[in-house]
Amino acid sequence: MNTLRAFWESQQDRLFFLPPMPEQADPLALMALLLVAGLLVGEGLHRTLGLSRIVGYVLAGALAGPGALNWLDRETLALARPVADAALGLLLLETGRNLDLGWLRANPMLLRTAAAESGLAFAGVFVFSLVVVGLSPAWSAATAAITMTSAPAVVLLTAEECRAQGQVTQRTLLLTAISCALAFVVFALVLGLIHAEEAGDGLNAFIHPLWVLGGGALIALLCARLALGLAARLERGGAGQVFVLVAAALLAIGLARMAAVPVFLSLFLMGVAVGRLDSKRVLTYTSLPQGHWILAIVLFVVTGAMLPLGDATGLMLLQALGLIVVRGLAKFAGVMATGKNDLPVGRRRLLGLGVQPLSATAVFMAAELAAFYPEVSAQTLLLPLLAAAVMEFIGPQLCRRAFVLAGEAALPSREPPP
């Protein structure tokens, strides 16, 4: 390296166009390398061990991130954040579109199941955080809000990866979408609680949740109407409609970032709005372009790098495992306790397994909170983040296993992603 540097500097006198020898890799180049590394690790684990590709992407990010090799430092991570926001946003847009209210009307039992599994998960994690870990009520509620939902990105991509179709897959997607909706509302309320507890600020405690929910809804409605209005003027099913949908989603992401409204919430609501407002079915049959797998790799590499692996102590890891067990049992019990006449017991067991993932949405929710109270949250949010870290590696496998055992995955599935 020194020889190269000496040679480079010796040439600078003669070749005036040469820039100074770069001190560090360009973040974009680094991201590109990480993408390839994520892809290779993901494919390698998938082909050799049959693991979900997502596990490989997260592993590549975690190894390269600040917690391990630090190839991907915090500055580079910050640069990659808009891309990761876009990836999560687009996947949550799809999750929102999956929230099929017509199905809920035809089968109200599903709503009861969703309420039971999300509600029990929230209650279980809240009590665990408060009593066992000793967090304050507000931070316990924050931990519960962050971890009560399943992982929409993981579930959606796993279903696509396995080309899974059937009741376990469809219900896992639906329950995930409902638990997202519930978690986002609870999360907004918890923001207020945190402000009240940390800053004793009644005004912000009241206004901030309204800003988050109202702002998210407004952005969602505006961008959904824009997408539908423009798409109606274009050829049905053509590339133009896909372009309009993606462009409107990116606009929503940009607006949400500018207004400090969570991107995941705005895009989820936009997905719901696009589904609900599309009475002429202009965009109903328009799917995201297949290229969203590239964004998914970015998302999970960045998520892996954001995991606080270096900060964990043995006790914290133990607490995180405890949280995972409590949450897992609560979700499983919620699914098993409802819908006895609706879905055979074997299928319900697999559904209870399918809704277990915990991933990027939780990590990004934690990041939203951490932005306000960095000192306090560094410790208190370690618990849900560590739980998410562990589940990054287990969740995709559990979900995949559920789809395979249900006979809903298209096997053999060791093929390139769609």
Partner: protein
């Protein structure tokens, strides 16, 4: 010793009817075919009063069978019961269900074979044909009193295969394309080596001899392996008409059953002369005409050595059948078919119109699910 030497022909009451419908299971998200059949059956609770619900070869198909009934009114009631049961059950499981002989735009490699020994055997034997066999037909069973009568009626009904095809044609689209056929479904059936017409045998004994040869040569193990347009079904004591596309509505399914029953009654009563050998000369051509051109088909008549527009022969035939239909209590259904022949607005035409107005094949299939969800007009009035 072959399995056919003493195969008994179960007797049934003459002109007893039974209807089987193969139906499409689609996702309400995009109206493409979806994997749903085993899930739906696993959670379906019903008393079997109206008949049965069964798996078909791929997971995107489901078959309903009515009970054996004496008249079309009871068949229509069974079909209405099964329709209501399935539409409601599918709705609770976020699946939509529709008729039509083909799905307009599904990709056959994505189909999944249903679990079961028989389906695994078919998949093993026929390779990709088994997934391409995701097409949807209506089969109509007509009760006969003996094997000999079954053979005669099989030959007699073979002459009317094009008429059944035209009246039921509902499969103009395949692979997202207008095929220019009114019934493209039968092209998928034709790919099978044992499809086509029953052999020219004179009675049940001769038929058993023929089957014994096929078995000895390893061509067919049982009658189930034969995908003939019309075939005897000895275990039910029936003759089975297998060429109809599944219509868009159960009302049309009941009308086709009425046509089959009235036609069989008229044939068995009148015993018009038949010449299976001569008919076989033009059978494939006539079936092609019906599939391709629908009501514009022209049928070759090998006895009169001429060709005739099918609408003329159909209109005349329906006029002749009306008395038998009245005696059987299904004249309303035959009248409905007469109006259909006059208007020429069959299901294939309806589907083409929908595709033009809806602008997408997803919307076309959604409209088909709405057609199927409509309650029967025959059930309420009778």
């Amino acid at each position: 010793m072959n399995a056919f030497a003493n195969l008994p022909f179960a007797t049934s009451r003459p002109l007893t009817l039974g209807v089987e419908l193969e139906l499409q299971l689609v996702s309400p998200r995009d109206y493409d075919l979806t994997r749903a059949a085993t899930d739906l059956l696993a959670s379906l609770h019903h008393d079997g009063r109206c008949g049965d619900v069964k798996l078909e070869i791929t997971e995107s198909m489901i078959e309903v069978n009515t009970q054996p009934r004496q008249d079309v009114t009871a068949i229509a009631a069974d079909l209405e019961g099964l329709r209501g049961l399935l539409v409601e059950h599918c709705r609770r499981n976020n699946v939509a269900i529709c008729g039509g002989g083909t799905h307009a735009f599904h990709r056959w490699p994505e189909r999944r074979i249903c679990p079961g020994e028989r389906f695994a055997f078919l998949n093993e034997r026929y390779g990709y044909l088994s997934k391409q066999f995701t097409v949807f037909g209506q089969h109509i069973h007509i009760g006969v009193t003996s094997g000999d009568e079954a053979i005669w009626l099989t030959h007699a009904l073979n002459m009317y295969v094009p008429h059944f095809v035209v009246l039921s044609a509902s499969s103009p689209f395949v692979d997202g394309t207008d095929t220019a056929f009114d019934s493209a479904r039968l092209n998928a059936v034709s790919a099978f080596p044992l499809s086509g017409q029953a052999p020219d045998v004179s009675d049940w004994a001769a038929f058993l001899d023929h089957m014994a040869v096929l078995q000895a040569c390893g061509v067919a193990e049982s009658i189930k392996d034969l995908y003939w347009d019309v075939r005897p079904k000895p275990e039910y004591g029936t003759v089975e008409v297998r060429v109809c596309d599944t219509p868009l509505t159960i009302d049309r399914a009941a009308e086709l059953a009425a046509f089959a029953q009235s036609l069989a009654r008229w044939l068995l009563r009148e015993r018009p002369p038949i010449d299976p050998a001569k008919q076989s000369l033009v059978a494939r051509y006539n079936k092609f005409q019906a599939c391709r051109f629908g009501f514009d088909a022209e049928l070759a008549d090998p006895l009169a050595r001429c060709k005739r527009p099918i609408v003329e022969t159909l209109a005349g035939l329906l006029d002749r059948l009306i008395e038998d239909a009245r005696d059987l209590g299904c004249d309303r259904q035959i009248e409905a078919l007469r109006r259909l022949v006059e208007s020429r607005q069959g299901d294939a035409t309806v589907l083409r119109g929908l595709a033009r107005s809806a602008g997408s094949l997803n919307e076309l299939t959604r409209a088909a699910t709405e057609f199927f969800a409509r309650p029967s007009c025959y059930h309420h009035h009778d």
